[in-house]
Structures are given as C-alpha cells and as structure tokens.
Symmetry: C2
Subunit: 183 residues, 2 copies
C-alpha cells in the first residue's frame, strides 16, 4: 500500500491554463490540442487541487458554501460524464448568485441538494472515492483562488475522512426535498 | 508520549454557559462562583473548541477572517494575561465591523496585524504551543458557531501543523506595518 496523501495547499494561486489537464481528464475522445493562450502551466496550488479532484474514479461528494469557478465546474462535469457518482450539497442563499456553477451542474444531470435553514451551509469540502478528503477555508470561486489568503488540506487519514463522510450523509439525508415541511 | 490529538468538530453547536470554564482558566485568583444562568453545560463542539484553545501554555497564533465571539475573545484575553504569547492576524475589511473582538484584543495589549491587500485574509486557523493546529471553515463568530454548518479540525500531526506555522510567520512578516508602502 502506498503512503496516505497528506498535503497542505495555500492560496492565492496565480491564473493558470488548465485546458490540457481537463482535456486529458475528459478521455481519449477529447482532442488533445495544445491551447494557444499565454497563461502559465507551471505547478501551483490550484493545479494540485484540480489534479486531486480529477483523480476520482468512483465517487465524489461535494459540500460547498459557494461554487462559481468555471474550471472546477468543468472538472466536476467531466467526472460525471466519466461515470463517477457525483453528489453536491450547497447553500440556498448562494447557489443563485451570478456565476454560480450549481445550475450548470444540475442541468448536466448531477444531483444537488441545498439547506432549508436560517444559518449558512458554510462547509468547503469534497471527498474523492470515499478515501481522500479535500477541506479548508477555500470556496470554489476564482476570486478566492486567485486573490484570497486561503488553505486547503488534502488528507487520506481515515480518522479525518470518516467523520466528514458521515457528516455528508447526514446532511444529504436532512436536505432531501421529500423531507421539506414548508410550514 | 501520548497519542497526537486528532479531532473533528461539527457545528452548529447549541448555546452553552462557559463561565466556569473561563473562570477556571483565569486561575485561582478568579472566584469560582457558579453561574446562575440557565444555559446548558453539557459537552458540545463549542466547549471542546474552547478547551483546546485554553490548553495553551506558551504561545497562540491566530489567523482569522472574522472574530466577534465574546466567549472566544475572553478566552484569548485570559491566555494573554496568563503570559501566553498571543499574536493575531485578521482581515482589514472585517476587523472594524460591529461586534469585532479585534479592538478589545488590541486594547488588552495583544499584537494584531492585518492585510493590506485587495483579496480577503480568509484563513480560519489557530496554533496552540506550536504543536496543535485548529483549522476549518469556522469563523469565530457566535452566528457561525450557533447557526451554521461548519467544521473544525484539531490536529497534532506535524505534517499539517508545520506548513501552517510557516504560513503564519510569512503572513506576520508580510503584514508588518513597517513594510507598508502607502503608494
């Protein structure tokens, strides 16, 4: 067995061309043309985050206060098309804001649930293949990725992953629309 | 050597009376009178967070986007009075908002630095005695503690603590007022 992943990423991360990373992830069907844009391709926190996400083979749980990064939105859609079981939980007040990816994900057929509470659904985590936890202060927005001081932990320690998996399943069930009371 | 702490806390956490916890932490000089208020004293995520914080003996680095919880503010002041070396980094746009604890901490003599950038200083972490990292989605506000879905990791794994210590020292130096350019 390989050593568990234990990675700490800090942001801001510079703008980065991710066309080739995404085309490669989309599979052999996608043309691997090189992108003519002048953005750098050097290793950076954002590319590391994107690679971790694209490593999903079976399942991806996402629990995010704000999700508007077009690059991460495309990555999630690619995983969905590749047959990864994707589920998304988000905050009701933020999912309709300009630039939100949530509508696009739903349109692509990805199940999305949101809170029905006064407080915010303020988590910012994802779980890849029920084994790798990605969590921290970072909302998945280009503003946060490129401008804010942020942190993201990538961890495969079961003692940290298991409680987040349980939390996701609790929230997923609680936000099941068939449970809404509308009182 | 004892086993490293590895704890995951989820919020919201119910309102909780912390008078006795804080009086105990303030030392034998403080009267240990029992508080007459009706709030519960049962174990909860917020009390666990507070106890971890109050365990500091030598140093406490705090790096927070928003800090307005009066209970956590009092805890930090108690640690400062007990001789713990406290340093605080925060976000310039949020530190002046109503209910912010930052002014009170400065008034108590605790050094505070803030960003001079366009983006947000969006971290939400603290490091106790250079050994225990407390990090997650939670800002230290009563609103977030009692109403939001939030997570906090408490971890003593050096692989996670060390990068956050380095990040704090980087930010602390970068936000040194003597480095401001005012251009």
């Amino acid at each position: 067995r390989r050593r568990p992943v234990r990675e700490v990423l800090f942001f801001p991360s510079p703008p980065s061309c991710t066309e080739e990373l995404l085309a490669e992830a989309a599979g052999p069907g996608a043309a691997a043309r090189s992108c003519p844009c002048p953005l750098p391709r050097a290793d950076c926190s954002f590319r590391r985050l994107l690679r971790r996400l694209l490593s999903a083979r079976r399942s991806l749980e996402i629990c995010l206060f704000a999700f508007s990064s077009p690059q991460l939105g495309r990555a999630v859609q690619i995983l969905h098309r590749r047959g990864v079981r994707v589920r998304v939980v988000t905050d009701a007040q933020y999912m309709g804001l300009r630039g939100s990816q949530i509508g696009l994900l739903r349109h692509a057929g990805i199940p999305v649930r949101h809170d029905q509470e006064e407080g915010y659904m303020h988590h910012k985590f994802a779980i890849v293949d029920r084994r790798m936890l990605i969590t921290g202060s970072l909302n998945w927005t280009t503003q946060a990725i490129q401008n804010n001081r942020e942190n993201v932990l990538v961890m495969e320690d079961a003692e940290y992953v298991k409680p987040f998996l349980d939390e996701f399943e609790r929230i997923w069930e609680q936000y099941n629309p068939s449970n809404y009371r509308f009182i």
